[in-house]
């Protein structure tokens, strides 16, 4: 039974020990990054104001691209490591291994796709391309 009320003890060594520290440090960073993101996007702005033009204006300077890239990486690593820890508690053998591989693959795939879009997105080029006019592409 894995019901416990205290915090998770510090693992003695290896990857689990590194992950234990990573969860706390990335968690602290995400406290500001994730709550900052939610405050800006859902309280200051709202889902009614968010659209293509909004994102294009937001990504005109590197600040929000860097912010989103950092949030994306830390959130994915923190979240999928959390899933790995839960798999360690409830699963064993092949099932645990399967969850860990799928989690690792999803984490990597989503990170590559996300970072690619965050750092290469060009509003005019993407709009022109979707309109069937590749002429303006560099």
């Amino acid at each position: 039974m894995s019901l416990s009320s205290g915090p998770r003890p510090l693992p003695p060594g290896g990857f689990d020990r590194f992950a234990w520290f990573f969860m706390r440090i990335s968690g602290l960073a995400l406290l500001f990054l994730a709550l900052g993101h939610l405050t800006v996007m859902h309280l200051v702005n709202s889902i009614d104001t968010v659209d293509y033009a909004f994102v294009a204006a937001r990504y005109a300077t590197p600040f929000w691209r860097t912010y989103d890239g950092l949030l994306l990486m830390l959130a994915l690593l923190h979240g999928f490591n959390g899933l790995r820890v839960i798999a360690q508690d409830y699963l064993s053998g092949g099932k645990r291994l399967a969850v860990q591989w799928v989690a690792g693959f999803l984490c990597l795939a989503l990170m590559m796709a996300g970072l690619y879009i965050v750092f290469t997105f060009q509003p005019e080029a993407a709009a022109a391309l979707s309109a069937g006019d590749p002429g303006v592409l560099p």
């Binding site: 039974m1 009614d48 979240g79 999803l106 993407a126």
Partner: protein, 131 residues
């Protein structure tokens, strides 16, 4: 899966108090936020296909179901953050476990107080969207 089912059974019957509920909420909010994070990365990545597709997909989030989900998402991130701070502080200062109930109740208190303006602002946005 058998382990998971017995866990669900334990959750219903176990009377672990504040620590038990904090632990359970931390895992559930963590999994919930992770699920949305995956969906959110995909929906945002669609921006590379131009305004038509992106604006159409983003409009889905204006449905009442997602308006309510949005409040739950904010709550999940906020609770997970506050409880994460509580866990980290207890790790750094093991003597704090002597007042563990106080810290759990403090976390819930801060969460409830912080959620009041959040819910008001989000409902205000919702109301303002259809005059």
């Amino acid at each position: 899966m058998k382990k998971l089912l017995s866990e669900v059974n334990d959750i219903v019957r176990y009377r672990g108090g504040s620590g038990h509920w904090s632990y359970l909420l931390h895992r559930l909010t963590g999994l919930g936020v992770l699920l949305f994070l995956c969906v959110h990365i995909i929906d945002t990545a669609l921006i590379g296909w131009g305004p038509e597709l992106f604006n159409k997909v983003i409009a889905i989030y204006r449905h009442p179901f997602f308006r309510v989900s949005e409040i739950f998402l904010f709550g999940a991130v906020l609770y997970h953050s506050l409880n994460g701070v509580r866990i980290t502080l207890i790790d750094l200062w093991p003597g704090a476990t002597r007042r563990h109930r106080l810290w759990a109740h403090l976390t819930w208190g801060i969460f409830v107080v912080a959620m009041i303006p959040v819910v008001i602002i989000m409902l205000h946005h919702w109301k303002a969207s259809h005059p």
